[in-house]
């Protein structure tokens, strides 16, 4: 069992003295990210409504913040930070690759069907 924990987060910007302290530190970080998401979701600033790469900037921010949260949950709560590099890559790269591929083909197809619906001769307003 790995008793030695790596106690740095944010690339060594914050160093914790003990594992327990790190857990509380990560909780604070996750809470801050969640509150930012909720506040942005409620006020929906007009500045962030522009489109980048086919999606609103606000939605990109939400997705990036979510991935940041997922990173800290996996790395610190699930102790991925303390596992060997090979186990970490087996789990993370496999999942990331397959998910990105699936999401890409499905969203591409969804967008295409939407295009057919809106520019084709299919009546939906009745």
């Amino acid at each position: 069992m790995a008793h030695a924990h790596k106690l740095e987060i944010l690339r060594g910007l914050i160093k914790f003295k003990s594992n327990t302290q790190k857990i509380w530190g990560v909780l604070i970080l996750l809470s801050i990210i969640t509150s930012v998401e909720v506040v942005l979701g409620i006020i929906k600033p007009e500045v962030l409504m522009g489109h980048v790469l086919g999606m609103k900037i606000l939605n990109w921010i939400f997705i990036i913040l979510t991935i940041a949260k997922a990173y800290y949950i996996t790395w610190d709560f699930m102790h991925m930070r303390d596992e060997t590099a090979s186990l970490r890559r087996m789990v993370v790269w496999t999942a990331i690759f397959l998910i990105l591929y699936l999401v890409f083909i499905l969203l591409q197809e969804g967008g295409y069907i939407q295009d057919v619906y809106s520019s084709g001769f299919i009546k939906t307003d009745f």
Partner: protein, 326 residues
């Protein structure tokens, strides 16, 4: 784990067994691989949700307008507050879980017991909240009319605030009652009839000049399109087919029925994971109390269920984003 590995006299040899190249025990590694496969299942569901949403991007319901309820604060418009609370509860129970794992590393039975107990409580609060969310979603709030084409017509006042059917429609005498097995064909069943008929809604709209119809179409400002008074009456009279109250797998007063289908399926599948996580946590909790791991001199079982529990939290983070925020 060394206590559970049978010694065979071949230790030290590469293929002699008991070798852990990944420095993780068999059980922990298999839990990781199970998590990968389960993550792919959830991604399949969420990607399918994305597919349907991209397909109907111009008419998809706006989540902020659907999930606006908080228990004990009836009638107030509070989007996302309750889901944020649920997210926080789940993250909090993840924290108590990882604290239990940490206490396990120090073989501190009393602390593991307390933290496991708090984790179970957090899980129960979350499942309970989700049940309440479901109940609220199924019951619905304002009611709507579905058109022949399957579109949803909602009602707003001239300032754009939602108006419930009960506020302007009067239920009249019905020509038929709901069919039940005991008073008709025993092999045919019928759900609850809506409180109002489409004709009654048309009549209510005619007699309330300040009520307008809101369609599913999202305009360039990101809001749902509100029709003019004449267009409202015309649309409702020409196309109104069925009154919808609440949501189920067939109809959905908030918009596309697919939205409700995915809501039930994804949050239901996640809720099932939380539920089974709570059951597994309870089993481990009793093992901790009975001193099973104390005797084993290893709390690795707590670590393994901990991995599963964190995974449930991880999935919720994504469900929260894609269902409630984006």
């Amino acid at each position: 784990m060394s206590t559970t590995v049978v010694t065979t006299g071949t230790e030290g040899k590469t293929w002699g067994g008991g070798n852990e190249p990944l420095k993780a025990s068999y059980g922990k590694m298999m839990m990781w691989f199970f998590i990968v496969s389960d993550a792919l299942t959830f991604s399949g569901f969420l990607a399918a949700y994305g597919f349907s949403r991209f397909k109907f991007i111009e008419t998809w319901p706006i989540a902020d307008e659907v999930f606006t309820h908080v228990p004990f604060l009836h009638g107030q418009n509070l989007p996302m507050i309750y889901v944020a609370f649920m997210t926080f509860v789940l993250i909090m129970s993840s924290v108590t879980m990882v604290l239990a794992v940490d206490a396990g590393h120090h073989l501190n039975k009393a602390k593991v017991t307390i933290y496991m107990f708090l984790t179970i409580i957090g899980g129960l609060i979350f499942v309970g909240s989700q049940a309440w969310e479901w109940a609220t979603f199924i019951r619905g709030d304002y009611g709507a009319v579905q058109t022949k084409g399957g579109n949803i017509l909602q009602f707003v006042d001239t300032e754009g605030h939602r108006v419930a059917l009960r506020d302007f429609v009067v239920a009249g005498e019905k020509e038929r009652t709901a069919h039940e097995r005991k008073n008709g064909l025993w092999f045919v069943s019928e759900g609850t009839l809506p409180t109002y008929t489409v004709d009654e809604v048309v009549h209510g709209l005619e007699s309330h000049p300040n009520v307008l119809v809101r369609t599913q179409d999202i305009n360039e400002h990101g809001h749902k399109t509100v029709l003019s008074r004449e267009a409202s009456l015309k649309q409702l009279k020409a196309n109104g087919k069925q009154v919808v109250e609440g949501a189920n797998l067939h109809v959905n007063e908030y918009g596309s029925p697919l939205f409700a289908d995915f809501f039930f399926f994804i949050t239901g599948f996640h809720g099932f994971h939380v539920f089974s996580g709570v059951i597994i946590n309870i089993i481990i909790f009793f093992n901790v109390i009975l001193g099973t791991y104390e005797k084993r001199k290893s709390y690795e079982m707590v670590e393994k269920v901990g991995l599963y529990w964190h995974f449930v939290d991880l999935v919720w983070v994504f469900v929260f984003t894609f269902f409630y925020l984006v």
